[in-house]
């Protein structure tokens, strides 16, 4: 099982190494936000200092790559539902879950590397973060990627239509972004918005990130975020694997 998954992962990674440019474009958006939007946020934090602003804003900008990058991971698979690739793999001796797991593992890895680069930029701009927090943040990103990518493959295999999937992802991405307080903490907003945010798994991801960047390892949002994202990731993984199995019929 692990062998099969790593075979598919290796295949995907070799593709990535031949075309290493595309994931770099993915981090342009958060980096631009860090450079040109974060400086506007001086008034939203207590001291208004750059490190404090960055500690508030960087986690949100990292979630952005997950939302606008990993959520589109399934796109490539839509074409494979038509060109016979998945069909061929389905009757091959491959362990079926490995077909999805290998890809999801690649997407997690890409997201973690993107996260390292974005945090690197933030650190260059003045962000201060300890090593344990840094590593836990990467783990959080990996789990977020696991969820976002599995959801994307699930959608791709269920809908099998590029137009449908892109519309649907956009439809969900925007409100999820706003209600998660991706750009500004929802704690600045009215009660109803804060209540609404509690139903958004992404909110916990962003808040957990902010706690980590503040050095507040004991904050309850961190375990909640991990539990929620892992739980959702498992559900979407199972869903996408089932869709893959149904594809043949």
């Amino acid at each position: 099982m692990i062998r099969q998954t790593s075979l598919f992962l290796g295949y995907e990674l070799r593709f990535l190494l031949r075309n290493p440019v595309w994931p770099l474009f993915g981090i342009m958006q958060p980096v631009l936000y860090l450079l040109f939007f974060a400086p506007l946020l001086g008034k939203t934090t207590a001291s208004g200092s750059m490190p404090e602003v960055l500690a508030m804003f960087t986690p949100g900008s990292m979630m952005m790559i997950a939302l606008f990058g990993s959520l589109f991971a399934g796109f490539g698979m839509i074409n494979e539902t038509r060109n016979g690739v998945l069909e061929r793999l389905a009757v091959s001796p491959a362990w079926p879950p490995a077909i999805i797991l290998g890809r999801v593992a690649k997407d997690m890895l890409v997201l973690v590397i993107q996260a390292i680069l974005v945090m690197g930029v933030a650190i260059l701009m003045g962000l201060r973060i300890g090593l344990p927090e840094f590593l836990i943040m990467l783990l959080l990103m990996a789990v977020t990627g696991l969820f976002a990518a599995s959801l994307s493959y699930g959608l791709a295999l269920a809908i099998k239509d590029e137009n449908g999937v892109s519309q649907l992802v956009q439809f969900f991405a925007m409100p999820l972004t706003l209600i998660a307080g991706l750009f500004l903490p929802v704690s600045l907003g009215p009660d109803w918005l804060q209540t609404l945010a509690r139903f958004n798994p992404l909110y916990y991801g962003v808040e957990a990130g902010r706690s980590l960047f503040r050095g507040d390892l004991g904050d309850s949002t961190i375990p909640i975020a991990f539990a929620l994202l892992i739980g959702l990731a498992l559900i979407t993984l199972v869903w996408s694997m089932r869709s893959l199995r149904r594809l043949a019929a």
Binding site: L7, F8, N83, G84, E87, R88, V91, S92
Partner: protein, 319 residues
């Protein structure tokens, strides 16, 4: 016997609007027997149920009724065993456009349990056999249709299966590439691989396969070798274009050397065992009745005549 199918049926429930479903009987009871080491064709118009039949045999979909054993294993109860023993090349090809063919061959080998070395050796072997070595490292999207088709067949053969399914292997290829592919399929048989292919090309079935079934509306309408099937119809066909088709048909049906007569609008087909000798007689009889011909041709009977005889229509019109 590498394939043995009895009474295969497949009924799909297609959604038609809200809450309504329509039953589509794609395959309505097909019996098939494919011998080891032969090229076997399923010939029929588009929508006849060829692909559905192959998909049942390749364990994609479970039959609604009937049983089939492929390479000695039951397609429902021992699907995994069947998969280990078949190669399947779909109509769509199954080539990943974004990656080079060699990568795909290596992955296919590794997931089938080969070591890195074995997978590399097998890939090299297949690349050489299908003249793909030079383009092995190019992304598949940059390849021509014929090259991609060769890759898709190579991918189906990575595990060196005793049986390979080729679903419409030459659809969309130019005549040169088709002829080359036929040679490659024959080479497969010569190496001992059994081949089941589907096609809607008459000449392909005729030139390539050892035995075939003709499938129409989900049932087998004829089975045999190309030559025996054609012989059943007659050796030759005389096609006449004339006014008074019905009169001519009546006259010709009374002639002892005419086996069968079929008519369409303004067109008459007379089946003769020996066209060269029958034709002068036939012309004389028509002349005696003052039936004037517009045109005439004498051809060897084809599988289309077989199809026509069993289904009442020409395969060329059936699609």
């Amino acid at each position: 016997m590498i394939i043995e199918a009895h009474g295969l049926r497949k009924t799909f429930h297609a959604k038609r609007g809200r809450g309504k479903t329509e039953e589509v009987e794609a395959v309505r009871g097909i019996d098939l027997e494919v011998q080891k080491g032969e090229i076997f064709a399923a010939l029929g118009p588009n929508g006849a149920g060829k692909t559905t039949t192959v998909r049942m045999l390749a364990t994609f979909i479970a039959p609604t009724a009937g049983t089939a054993r492929v390479a000695g294993f039951d397609v429902v109860k021992e699907a995994a065993k069947v998969r280990e023993n078949i190669g399947y090349v779909s109509q769509a090809g199954g080539v990943d456009e974004n990656n080079p063919g060699i990568e795909q061959l290596l992955l296919a080998g590794r997931i089938a349990g080969l070591s890195k070395k074995q997978a590399q050796a097998r890939a090299d072997e297949l690349l050489a056999a299908f003249s793909l070595t030079e383009i092995a490292r190019r992304p598949a999207r940059t390849l021509s249709g014929g090259q991609k088709r060769r890759f898709s067949i190579a991918l189906g053969l990575v595990t060196a299966p005793p049986l390979v399914f080729l679903d419409e292997p030459t659809t969309g290829l130019d005549p040169q590439n088709r002829a080359n592919l036929w040679d490659e399929v024959r080479a497969l048989r010569d190496r001992g691989t059994s081949v089941l292919l589907t096609t809607h090309y008459l000449d392909e079935a005729d030139a390539l396969c050892d035995r075939l079934v003709i499938i129409d509306h989900g049932t087998v309408v004829a089975e045999g070798t190309p030559s025996s099937l054609k012989k059943e119809v007659a050796g030759d066909v005389v096609t006449l274009r004339l006014k008074g088709v019905d009169d001519a048909a009546e006259v010709l049906r009374a002639q002892s050397y005419v086996k069968e007569v079929r008519t369409e609008e303004g067109l008459l087909r007379a089946y003769l065992d020996d066209g060269e000798h029958g034709l002068p007689h036939l012309l004389r009889v028509l002349e005696e009745r003052d039936l004037t011909l517009e045109s005439i041709s004498l051809d060897r009977a084809t599988l289309d005549d077989v199809f026509l005889r069993h289904t009442g229509r020409s395969l060329r019109d059936a699609a």
